[in-house]
Symmetry: C2
Subunit: 478 residues, 2 copies
């Protein structure tokens, strides 16, 4: 063996990061100081940071045009994103369809900066007003920036705190993984979900607040407050349930066990991965882009693109005027859902360990064919016309759940930069054991956490629901 020159010192191997971080985040989840300061910050910021959004016809959007060559709606700079037509072919009940879809190939950053304050990990949260928000401010990650944002294409201000995500010397990485956005609305869109810790002194600027995980969990139960990007990144966080006493059989204990790696699991991970591989191999879904006016069931009327039966969503145009950090005024297309969505987790206890019924689901915009979705993911209004055999499995069970079985029930917004006044009811329902249809499996939260370390396993809705379910963890038996 060659001998290394003495000047080339081998670096000191680093300790594993996740197990210790998982315990420290659990401690943060147990810590819920008063939210009075936070509420004051929201009031103060609401005055200074807001957007006024006005609907305008698509053909009168400054800076955007209908590209004659492609038939897409594009920005004149060629940047940002485009609205394209997508033709989808698959097997199954709805064998082929067309739809508009957003193509935004850039990978943005959704990042939490975390830091110990008084020995407890705190998250630097941003109070952000997005044009699609129904209610003005929402709680956003420290950094939520498209590549256009942070490379200055918008001509806006520099992105605060971005340096902690770009300069590896200034932080320790806890999670850093590209995750998909909605596979039915975006074409292969991925964002980089990051959690980084710093030990430098960091001051919360105007419009930013430090919160514990316990406080964020508390706020998740507030309608339309914790935004989609925050929920997405929260699902990538390591969170350890501890070692609950055997014999305790309450909900909190079952949840804590589910969060703990090494707890009993109905399906070993090798089988879960094989089930996903099988579904991806089997999927016959094929999609290709077409001009918007080649979509048979969609038409432009009243300056928006709508489904001819009034279903699903519209592509609308908006003019935005922003007060605060972002650049002053711009126009853009947005997605406006015709009705609220429903995402639901059915959960059950298997020998005292909480399991979630996950669905493997192909979506045309996903980079890798199919990902895990919540038990139910649909727009109930669009399902009303379906025959009983066509309705999504478990939809009726979730919608008709008794109040006593509902563990979480809050309407939360889709991403306010692309979705206009669009939200989904997030519902967690506890049930007895149910047998698994072929595309469904009962998994533990520790298994879901294992999967969110990697790209393309949990879709956006599943990550959002995972954040909601984990928010019920308080570290103590209930």
């Amino acid at each position: 063996m060659s001998t290394a020159p003495a000047t080339l010192a081998v670096p000191v191997p680093a300790a594993r990061i996740r197990p210790a971080a998982a315990r420290r985040f659990a401690e943060s989840a147990r810590t819920v100081p008063s939210l009075a300061t936070f509420e004051q910050a929201v009031e103060d910021t609401r005055e200074r940071v807001r957007t006024v959004t006005e609907r305008v016809p698509l053909d009168r959007l400054n800076g955007w045009r209908h590209d004659e060559d492609t038939g897409f709606i594009t920005h004149e700079s060629g940047r940002f994103f485009s609205v394209e037509g997508l033709r989808v072919e698959t097997q199954g009940p709805r064998a082929a369809w067309g739809q508009p879809i957003i193509n935004q190939p850039e990978t943005g950053i959704l990042g939490f900066l975390v830091k110990e304050i008084g020995g407890i990990l705190h998250f630097l949260m941003q109070l952000k007003a997005e044009p699609g928000n129904r209610n003005g401010l929402q709680l956003s990650p420290t950094v939520q920036a498209t590549r256009s944002n942070y490379t200055g294409v918008h001509g806006g201000q520099p992105v605060p705190y971005l340096e902690f995500f770009q300069d590896s010397a200034r932080r320790r990485v806890i999670a850093d993984v590209r995750q998909s956005e909605h596979g039915t609305r975006f074409l292969c869109k991925r964002n980089r979900n990051m959690i980084v810790e710093t030990t430098e002194p960091v001051e919360a600027r105007d419009g930013f607040v430090w919160l514990t995980l316990g406080q964020i969990h508390h706020l998740l139960a507030v309608e339309d407050l914790v935004n989609m990007s925050t929920r997405s990144v929260l699902a990538c966080l390591p969170l350890e349930g501890g070692a609950p006493h055997t014999g305790d059989e309450d909900f909190g204990t079952a949840l804590a066990r589910s969060l703990t790696p090494g707890s009993l699991e109905l399906h070993p991970l090798a089988n879960v991965l094989s089930w996903i591989t099988e579904a991806r191999t089997r999927s016959e879904m094929r999609a290709h882009t077409v001009p918007l006016d080649a979509l048979a069931d969609w038409a432009v009327s009243d300056g928006r693109i709508s489904h001819q039966a009034g279903r699903y969503f519209d592509v609308i145009g908006v003019r935005v005027e922003a007060l605060g950090r972002e650049v002053g005024q711009w126009c853009q297309p947005m997605i406006h859902a015709r009705a609220a969505g429903l995402v639901a987790f059915l959960i059950t206890r298997v020998r005292g360990v909480l399991h979630v019924l996950m669905q493997v689901r192909a979506e045309p915009g996903l980079t890798d064919t199919a990902e895990l979705a919540p038990t139910v993911q649909c727009t109930p209004d669009d399902c009303a016309r379906l025959s009983p055999g066509e309705r999504p499995l478990f939809l009726d069970l979730a919608q008709n759940a008794r109040a006593a079985d509902i563990r979480f029930d809050t309407v939360l917004s889709e991403e306010g930069g692309r979705f206009y006044h669009t939200g989904s009811r997030h519902l967690v329902v506890e049930t007895g054991w149910l047998p698994e249809p072929p595309d469904f499996r009962w998994l533990t939260l520790a298994q879901l956490e294992e999967l969110t370390q990697h790209s393309y396993y949990l879709n956006m809705q599943a990550r959002s629901m995972m954040a909601c379910l984990r928010s019920l963890f308080h570290g103590d038996a209930r």
Copy 2:
């Protein structure tokens, strides 16, 4: 909580699969019975199973045509695969280029059936003659079948043992993951790498043999014998190094420690994943297909497609006559490399634990931008013309290694169904500590094994090299 009806019994949770399997495969690796029976089987099979491959001009390939609409070479049935032009744009020294590439969207199965015989796991290996093999038979997985194979498009015989991979009741899954094929030769091609165990009685048919992992490891040192698919699947196998004594400092012990999860590692996995995410986000590589005759540096002459400077590879035509299981006669295009490739692992010991210097590398045909590649992956002849600054890092170090530092050195074939007489030198060189350039990291074998549970982390060459390096594990100190 609702109560489950008594008739819906919760299934018994299964034990974790991988840790126990990893120990059983280690036991199989330690077991190296005589290869006399195997050698006899090779002799017997060589008589009955072979292919005669004759080169024919591309424009005289029965069943294939130059598609006027697309400019691709396609099969008249629309099945199998096509040869397309690819235009690639990127940053860096070779900023844009064109090349032919194979588009084969179907996902095939590469699968080992394993079974305990005398308490030791054995692999059912197939002696397979592929048209591109230089030497006739090679050792293949139990099943190596494109979707066209196993759905009968070829009109051939049913694929033996396929039922164990398709019928979940007849096997236990140990690994099941879609992995990429060569990202410079195939467009988003993926195969399903599977290892399944059965307890049913299984007889080895003609042309199949049962081997222990130790025997396969032994045979990996034989030139052009263990085929590419076998190497790919071997890398997805869980293999545990045990708990070597502290203080032992020989190579075998350092290798065993590297195989054992929980051993010291230079970079925690969170940092490794972040480094990969960063590289994928940063990559500016964009590729789109173009007609073959739009490739500026490539031309058809003598019935093949060649680079005008005689570099890289040719696309040739062959007529194949097969004796044995497969259908009798067919024509197809193949890739013929102009010169042998080199894939090399530099390895070093960090505090007694073997680490491999891995490279993160973007390739135009990869589904997800960039994957981990060996330290060196190139065709040395094509690099000879490059200036010192353009030459691949570590190429000279690998090529000029002293014999005493070489741990593995064997020429092994690329996949003989698409590559004609094309092989790469597989080289493992032990070195002292070397500092890591930005796109390189020293990783343990346990970390690589963790990553091969998931798609798109290790490219084909890295998996092939991983199989070679792990073949040096005998379970005993050397």
